[in-house]
Each structure stands twice: as C-alpha cells, then as structure tokens.
C-alpha cells in the first residue's frame, strides 16, 4: 500500500481552499446520493450496477453515479441558489492508466445566471486555489492565464479546414436537434468528415457506419488535440452543437456554449451553459437512453420545469492535484485505491 503522505495533506488543504472560495462567493455546498435507480443517460459511459434487495427477496437494479449532474440540476430546478459538490464518481469500463480510475473525485459547481464564459473565470480561481495548496511551485503551464481557443480556430490551425464551413455546407448551422431535417444534415456533415479523413489517407476502419460525433472525434484526436499548445492551461471553447450533450446552443450559431480545459495536455474540466428547453432535454434522453424505446422522462420534465439559466462545470480533482504537484500520473494521491496494483 503506497501513497504520498504529502499529497494526502495537500489534498485536504485543496478541498478546504475550494470550500472557502465557494463559501465566500455565496455557493451552497450540497451532498447528494451516490446510488440512484435512474442515472443520467450517457451512451458512452459504462456504469457500475448493483442490486437493491427487498425484504421479500425480490430485487431491482441501482447504479453508482457517473457524476452528480442530475441531482445538482434537480436541486436548482427546485429553487436552490448557486451550488457545488465535492464527491466521488464511478465509471466502469475505463482503461486503468496514468490518468484514469474507476473511482475518482469530482468538483461540480453550478452558477445561476452564469454562462460558460463566466465559469472560465471561476476555473482560473480554482486552479490558483489548487496551486496554492501544494508545496511545489507550479509553473506557467499549470497556473498561467488560461488561453482560449475556439474549436473553429483549432480546426483551421491543426486539422487544416474550417469546421464552420462544413457545418454551414451541411445545413447544421440552421437547425437544431429537434428539427425534422436534422438526421440528413448529420449524414451530410459525416460525409464531409469522411472525405477529409480519406484525403489525409487515414485508416478508414469502420468509418462508413460511424456517427458524425465519432468522425469529429477522430479528426480532433488525430490532428488537433495532440498539437494544442501546452505552455499554459488551455480552454477549447465553442464545440459543435451536433455532439449530443446537455450544453445549450449559442443562439443563431452551430456552436454549443461549452468548453473543455486542458492542463499540460491533460483534460481536467468541462463546462456547459446548461440546456433548459424541455423539448431538447427530452430529445437528449431519448437518444442517449440505453433503452431508446422507453426513456425515463421524469428527470427532463423536472429539470425543465424550473431550472434557472445557469452554467455548470465539472473538474477532476485527482488530476488537478497531480498536475499542480507536477506529477505525471495519479499514483499515490489517495488512500487505498483499489487500482494501484493494476496500473500499467
């Protein structure tokens, strides 16, 4: 059993600093359940499933939360002010490597009447709090001023083509997810992406059957992500709205109000200006639910029923701690993790 004693203390100082910061800003700390009978549907996240056994011996499935998102949104919809939570999350099926664990600690906060842009300013403060919690001196690449780059700028620079033009050409800039022409516009943008990949002589794999989001990620991961400058923290803003998320569309544009933060090339946080439109929320539940014919519409109804305009950010605190410490992996940063012996 190996852990770094200093890191355990630094983690405690970091949590205290984050709590103090949000307390000063008037955010309410909440503590929501880790077990749920109806998790937020995300088709790309595998869940840990357990069973609730009733006194009569019958049972039904319960799940460990992949994030507290659904609870925090429910709290907002029922009238809460801005709030935050520091808690454990669980994701199954993840490869255990230097930056991935099945169980990890997430900071998630929601600012009422805030946009994703506002939350980037809060993120800078959180990085400062984290950097001030450790004994080592964090360099510019970790605690410098966050550089903002839009997905369009990143594509032009590193993938060699305009994403915006592709979205315009396919008609995706004009319509939203709930429109009837949406599937054919998606098919069109997929063709454009496929052609770009073929031009670059990439192994095409199963590309013919792939979704527009998968093709987009192929291009992003192959040409863009690795080429991003890492001399300062970097936020990629304005993601294409066709990637299914709960981020709202920026009106009159093909972009979602969303950013992802990278520090030293490692993804640390993501943020949405939150979707509150009931029709679009239901569409998301329908598309992402494991059982597409029978989505659980309780949540989208409750959320849309009262959620104020707001922006939410999720930060992987284990990664943030490692990065401000200057570590190159998550080893030794927490007590008794089940995975250390499995790290490769």
């Amino acid at each position: 059993m190996q852990f770094k004693h200093e890191a355990i203390k630094e983690r405690a100082v970091m949590y205290r600093g984050i709590r103090d910061f949000f307390d000063r800003c008037g955010y309410l700390e909440v503590d929501t359940p880790l077990l749920t009978d109806s998790p937020i549907p995300e088709s790309h996240i595998e869940l840990f499933q357990t069973r609730r056994i009733q006194p009569d011996g019958t049972s039904y499935p319960l799940y460990l939360i992949p994030s507290p998102e659904i609870w925090l949104k429910m709290a907002l919809a029922s009238g809460s002010s801005s709030l935050f939570q520091i808690g454990r999350c669980f994701r199954n099926g993840e490869q255990m490597d230097k930056w991935h664990r099945n169980e990890f600690t997430m900071l998630e906060w929601y600012g009422v009447d805030k946009t994703a842009g506002d939350n980037l300013i809060v993120m800078q403060e959180i990085i400062e709090v984290a950097a001030g919690s450790v004994n080592s001196e964090a360099g510019e690449e970790v605690s410098g001023v966050i550089r903002k780059i839009s997905m369009e700028e990143a594509f032009r620079e590193f993938a060699g083509f305009s994403l915006e033009s592709a979205l315009e050409e396919s008609g995706l800039s004009e319509i939203n997810r709930a429109s009837s022409g949406y599937p054919s516009a998606l098919a069109e943008v997929s063709d454009i992406f496929r052609n770009r990949l073929k031009e670059k002589k990439l192994p095409t794999g199963e590309m013919e059957k792939e979704s527009a989001a998968d093709l987009f990620h192929r291009i992003f991961l192959t040409f863009v992500e690795e080429a991003l400058p890492a001399d300062r923290p970097l936020a990629i803003t304005h993601w294409p709205a066709f990637i299914p998320t709960l981020a709202r569309n920026i009106p009159e544009t093909p972009w979602a109000d969303r950013w992802e933060l990278y520090i030293r090339g490692v993804e640390v946080a993501n943020c949405y200006g939150e979707e509150t439109d009931e029709k679009l929320l239901k569409k998301y539940w329908e598309d992402e639910s494991p059982d597409k014919t029978n989505p659980d519409f309780r949540w989208p109804q409750l959320i849309a029923g009262g959620m104020p305009p707001c922006s939410g950010t999720a930060v992987g605190l284990d990664r943030l701690l490692a990065l401000v410490r200057g570590d190159n992996n998550l080893k030794g940063l927490d007590l008794f993790p089940i995975h250390d012996s499995m790290l490769r």
Binding site: H44, Q95, E210, T222
Partner: protein, 189 residues
C-alpha cells in the same frame, strides 16, 4: 492474419497498417469529452523504422500479424544486411540493417537470437535487455584525475560509443542497457 479490437492492442503487438508491418511502441487510451473511447498508438515500421501515429476507436478492427519466433544464429553483417542462419533448418537468410540499426551494437558473430518472422520476412530481432561487451578502445585515465563521477567515452567490440566512469580500461567487460544504450556496470568475470 487475425483481427484484433483496437482496445485490446498492447505495447509489442504486431500490426499491419496500410500493408506495412508495424510493432506498437506506445499505446494510450483517450476518452474525448462526450464520445466513444479511442486508442492512440505510436507504431514503428518494421521495414523502414519510420514512426507512425494512428488513432483508432476502441471498437475498430485492426489486422494483427501472426508471427513466428525462430531461433537463429547471427553470422555476420555486410554493412547493408545482417546474415542469419535458422538454428533448426540451417537455412541462411538476410535481414536489412536499415530497419534494425541498433541491433548491430548488441550482436556478436556466432550468437543466437530469437527473430520474429512473418511470411519469410524478419520483422524483429529480439535483443536482450542487457548486454555485456568488451571495451575495444579506451583513453587512459589521466593521472591525478580522481574527481568522483568523472566520465569518458569508450568504444566497445561492436563499435558502440558509450559514456563510462573514468576507471574503465581497454579489455574490460561492461554491461550496457540495450534500450537506452547506457553503461550500467563493470563485469568482473
């Protein structure tokens, strides 16, 4: 030839990409913000030694090469090719040096190595992690130079130039880390 899911590929897996044989040098999993899991691979071309970076979805099918391992004796190199003899069949064959340049510093004539072969083509020469080599050329230590940690360069019997502590003499045997090419210790037989 078999198919392998990209998610199951490990360091050292042999793959066919664009009809060229590769060995996986590095593998990293990436989960983009909201999307399927991907695998990023750094591949070494086993014909040209060129490096290729590819990104696959974990569910992609890749072509894995079914290789044979053949014990073979290293005979000599002619500057362009290594000449080997299969220890079982006594067949002689050549391996282009271009793709395995590093091997020349760790193979002595007459020694036996495991070779990875595919369709009559040698893809890889399995070198040991450590190799003991004789020092062929070494400068004399300068008298009075007793600074701790002082180093100098020597040339081994295989023509490898390596940085060693000042006390190493010509004719002595030293242990080299084959992957890094660095001196590890003096061997007293």
């Amino acid at each position: 030839m078999g198919m392998i899911k990209a998610g199951a590929i490990a360091k050292g897996t042999y793959l066919l990409e664009k009809n060229e044989p590769f060995v996986v040098a590095e593998r990293e999993f990436v989960n983009p913000g909201k999307g399927s899991a991907f695998v990023r691979l750094k591949l070494k071309n086993l014909r040209s030694a060129a490096v290729l970076k590819v990104t696959h979805k974990s569910q992609d099918n890749c072509e894995e090469i079914d290789v044979d391992e053949v014990e073979s004796q290293f005979l000599y190199s002619d500057g362009t090719n290594y000449h080997f003899m299969d220890s079982t069949t006594f067949d002689q064959f050549e391996v282009p040096m271009k793709a395995h340049e590093n091997a020349q510093y760790y193979m002595l004539e007459g020694e036996t190595f495991k070779l990875t072969r595919w369709n009559e083509e040698t893809l890889d020469i399995r070198l040991p992690p450590k190799k003991d080599l004789l020092v062929a050329e070494a400068e004399e230590a300068v008298k009075g130079d007793t600074v701790t940690g002082a180093t100098k360069y020597v040339i081994t019997e295989t023509n490898l130039k390596v940085k060693v502590p000042i006390f190493i003499k010509q004719g002595e045997k030293i242990r080299i880390n084959v992957e890094s090419g660095e001196y590890q210790e003096r061997i007293n037989d």
